[in-house]
């Protein structure tokens, strides 16, 4: 069913009784051309683009829980393309462009909201780093502005400008950055993929990968064996677990990141704002909740819940950046398990097994990548050829000495 103003009106008149399922709930077929493991943003967008751009529709997305139950449904929804390195920037810019046309593309309102992403800086050294990043964006034609303190004050007068120790000196603004309604991304891609014939199979866990003569022939699941010609992994925090089923050994550690939402409040924070003297980031949803987060919990964890010390630390940074938050109340805290890579950048690549494809290492920045990740991964799966903008996201880059290390922290994943 196509959504339109007319469809809404028609439904309203009939008591909203005639809405049809947004996707089918099929039983798995015995065999698919492509099986994608993981019904998160990346798995679903991959399926969508495989069908839409490359005409490959005999595809199944296999999800152990409900679609969107992973990180796509639990992130702070920030999208931006303010990256510094050549291996990252053009990729995220493609993603941002795809976000910009997404609603029309898949006939679903994911509420892409380009409210601007503002990164504050607090010292000369930090300004220089941001300038380097901003120039990397501009050199590639991506929008970026370096604001001084007064320009920042005009955008966000409630920030703590009086701070003697970590004064706000200015900010790097990407106006085209913003937020997207996270769940709707999963649902929109799922619906779009389903309409084009993709089977979305929920509550089905992949428990094994079957190989014959060195190639993958299918997956064992809690709903039985399902065959395939090509297998694509997009299991985010669980990548290692799934990868191990095919003896992949990966430069990934799984960590938990928490996110938070406040009670509903009348709009006060217009942009996405990040704190440079710490690691706090915040925006306000269209519903009025302040959505925010900060550092990861630092220890390896597959549990989707976090630690109180990190919660407190997050609030300290929040109140330090925005003193007026002090009397607002935090409603809910949750965690997501992320595939932290050894250089903080993702991997979209083939593997040593010919028909096994890998998409992982998104750390806590993969939501913004969802469209481009799906697009490039679909490209790779369909054509067996790396898309230009993802050519640096190779699996062998660590071995060859080509780490994509935006933060310069080196091979300690919990520092990225």
């Amino acid at each position: 069913m196509r959504y339109s103003a007319f469809s809404i009106l028609k439904q309203a008149l009939s008591g909203n009784r005639l809405w049809t399922p947004a996707w089918r709930e099929p039983e798995p077929k015995p065999h698919y051309d492509v099986i994608i493991v993981g019904g998160g943003g990346h798995g679903l967008s991959t399926a969508y683009y495989l069908a839409k751009e490359f005409g490959i529709t005999n595809v199944a997305v296999i999800e152990k829980g409900y679609i969107g139950s992973g990180n796509v449904g639990r992130n702070t929804t920030i999208i931006r393309s303010n990256y510094m390195l050549e291996g990252n920037n053009p990729f995220y810019e493609l993603s941002l462009k795809l976000w910009e046309g997404l609603e029309q593309d898949f006939n679903y309102n994911a509420m892409v909201s380009q409210r601007g992403v503002l990164n504050l800086f607090h010292s000369d050294g930090q300004r220089d780093q941001y300038a380097r990043r901003g120039n990397a964006m501009r050199i590639e034609g991506v929008d970026a502005e370096l604001l001084d303190r007064e320009q920042v004050r005009r955008l966000a007068p409630y920030l703590n400008f009086d701070h003697g120790r970590f004064p706000i000196m200015g900010g790097l603004l990407q106006k085209r950055g913003g937020t997207v309604r996270h769940d709707a991304v999963a649902w929109g891609y799922a619906r779009g993929a389903d309409q084009r014939g993709v089977d979305i199979i929920q509550h089905c866990e992949v428990t094994g990968i079957r190989r014959e003569n060195g190639v993958v022939t299918g997956v064992e699941t809690t709903k039985g064996f399902i065959g395939c010609n090509k297998l694509a992994l997009a299991a985010a925090g669980n990548t290692t677990t799934v990868g191990r089923m095919a003896d992949l050994q990966l430069p990934i550690e799984t960590h938990v990141l928490q996110a938070f939402v406040s009670e509903g409040l009348k709009p006060v924070i217009d942009q996405v704002i990040t704190y440079g003297a710490g690691h706090f980031y915040i925006s306000q949803s269209d519903k009025g909740g302040l959505v925010f987060g900060a550092d990861i919990d630092y220890y390896s964890s597959y549990a989707q819940r976090g630690n109180l010390a990190t919660v407190e630390h997050t609030m300290q940074e929040g109140v330090t950046m925005i003193p007026g938050l002090s009397r607002a109340k935090v409603l809910r805290a949750w965690g997501g398990v992320m595939d932290m890579s050894m250089d903080g950048s993702p991997i979209i690549d083939r593997t040593s097994i010919d028909n096994l494809y890998l998409n992982c290492g998104w750390c806590y920045g993969g939501f913004k990548a969802t469209p481009a990740s799906g697009f490039c991964f679909a490209h790779l799966i369909a054509k067996n050829e790396t898309h230009r903008v993802s050519r640096f996201m190779r699996l062998d880059r660590f071995e060859r000495g080509y780490a994509l290390d935006e933060s310069g922290k080196g091979p300690q994943p919990n520092l990225h």
């Binding site: 290692t240 430069p251 990934i252 220890y299 549990a303 300690q412 919990n414």
Partner: protein
């Protein structure tokens, strides 16, 4: 675990006192092949379940501890001084 760690030297302490370094992996011998070094530095077992991780008691004894725990339930099985742990591992090898 995760809220409190029982340091074998200092007693029970909150997470705030520690910094966490990641998986316990043995450093190759100096003469090892480049591949061994690559694996040591970049490749992680990253199991779901029982896991050994370095926690540095930064605000206490400043010893590296090996925390042996389940990273799904966060149950801790043992906390050992890293030197001690290395010695035991040596013996085991």
């Amino acid at each position: 675990m995760a809220s409190l760690i029982s340091c074998p030297h200092c007693g029970t302490r909150p997470k705030e006192e520690f910094s966490i370094r990641g998986a316990v992996v043995a450093r190759p011998q100096p003469g090892a092949k480049e591949d061994a070094w690559y694996r040591y530095v970049f490749i992680r077992d990253n199991p779901k379940g029982r896991y050994q991780e370095y926690w540095h008691h930064a605000a206490g004894c400043r010893r590296f501890l090996v925390v042996d725990r389940d990273n799904l339930t966060h149950e801790v099985f043992a906390v050992t001084d890293a030197t001690e742990f290395a010695k035991n591992a040596e013996v085991a090898r």
